[in-house]
Symmetry: C2
Subunit: 232 residues, 2 copies
């Protein structure tokens, strides 16, 4: 575990953990990773609300702040979402296994997702960030409309994930349980004008945070025009 | 200016500013805001690359890391993007003015955007985060496919914005100059398989960072089902 990681056996209230938000920005970013295996122990509401409060500091298109967050702790609702997650995972997980055959690090990720799928009802908190004002379905719109739309929620999701990381809360970013928007709306009681964007499951970690592996920055940066890669 | 803000007259190299990334996470988030008015002075490549390097720490769907970043400093290319920005702003800026009539804080935002539109060629750096593997255009897909797609780039954009904030670099998140994907691809030499998501203009600020105004967290949080708002 990193130096800033404390065992979850300690005081898990917001008051006892608020100071962890002073983690250096660079440390939070460099040690952020999906932590899917979490304990069933409850997470203090105040901690979840503080993470969402910081999520709200992120930018939105035209400063619309057209976000809402559903915090799911009810077991029946978690089970209903789990059912949808399992349906989608039966298809995508199988594809993943076939593609990643022999790739150890990808298999490790798939194992962790499998754990999450199997234990979804036991995860203490599911945060569902939503956008108000859904686009009309099946109407072609320019790609930028989509990009601006989701660009008004995912910056906030990243703040939520970084805040969770600084508290030492396990978190990940998933969309599969929401594959059927109709079903998700029914489970969460969402009006048709509200679009669930993703789910961030939260819990005290069984796994741990730590550095991730990424391609060198020079490999993904182009100067002025595609293919000009002076830092590669 | 906040305590961590230094005048841009100082040493603007990465070496002299690297330690600013240790800004407490909570301070970076709470003082992040769009800073559109920036100086024409060049920004050290190393600083831009460090911001992008930290952007790469964000999560992507299925850990695909299917991102690329075009760093635009060429004036002709900036002017070509500026032309598209002005075309879109003539329509959307006018609508914005009519809607925000009498709303002082919205008018302040619109003034800052107007400044950005008018001075777009003078902004030293435009970072264009892109996604590889574009969706087929005009084919209806479930909303989750869109969400997962853009959910694989906007968390990284938020890291980029937070890193810029900690360096004291002015930054904002815009999509209007990319309204014509065909035109954007032509300007940046992008293959059709690459989708530009947004633009983050970067420069040393004329404006300043500072706290933003948001609705109280209890107003946007629902417990288990829409409309159940115990923290409101």
């Amino acid at each position: 575990m990193t130096t800033n990681e404390r065992a979850p056996e300690g005081d898990r209230t917001l008051a006892a953990n608020e100071d962890r938000l002073t983690m250096p920005l660079v440390e939070a970013m460099e040690t952020q990773r999906a932590v899917r295996k979490v304990l069933p122990d409850p997470v203090d509401d105040d901690l979840v609300l503080r993470c969402i409060e910081l999520a709200l500091k992120a930018p939105t298109g035209s400063n619309g702040q057209n976000w809402e967050f559903v915090v799911v702790t009810d077991r029946a609702k978690k089970a209903a979402l789990a059912k949808r997650y399992r349906q989608a995972w039966r298809i995508y997980g199988g594809i993943g296994r076939r593609i990643s055959k022999g790739d150890g690090s990808m298999n490790k990720i798939l194992d962790a997702v499998q754990w999450q799928v199997d234990h979804f009802e036991e995860i203490p908190v599911l945060v569902v960030p939503c956008l108000k004002g859904s686009r009309a379905p099946f109407v072609p719109v320019p790609p930028m409309a989509h990009s601006s739309y989701y660009g008004s929620i995912y910056p906030s999701v990243q703040n939520l994930l970084l805040a969770a990381r600084s508290f030492g809360l396990g978190a990940s970013l998933i969309t599969l349980p929401l594959w059927s928007t109709i079903s998700a709306r029914k489970i969460l009681g969402l009006p048709v004008s509200v679009q669930p964007a993703c789910i961030v499951p939260l819990g005290w970690p069984r796994g741990r945070y730590g550095p991730t592996t990424r391609r060198p920055v020079g490999d993904v940066v182009h100067r002025d025009t595609w293919g000009s890669q002076p830092w590669k």
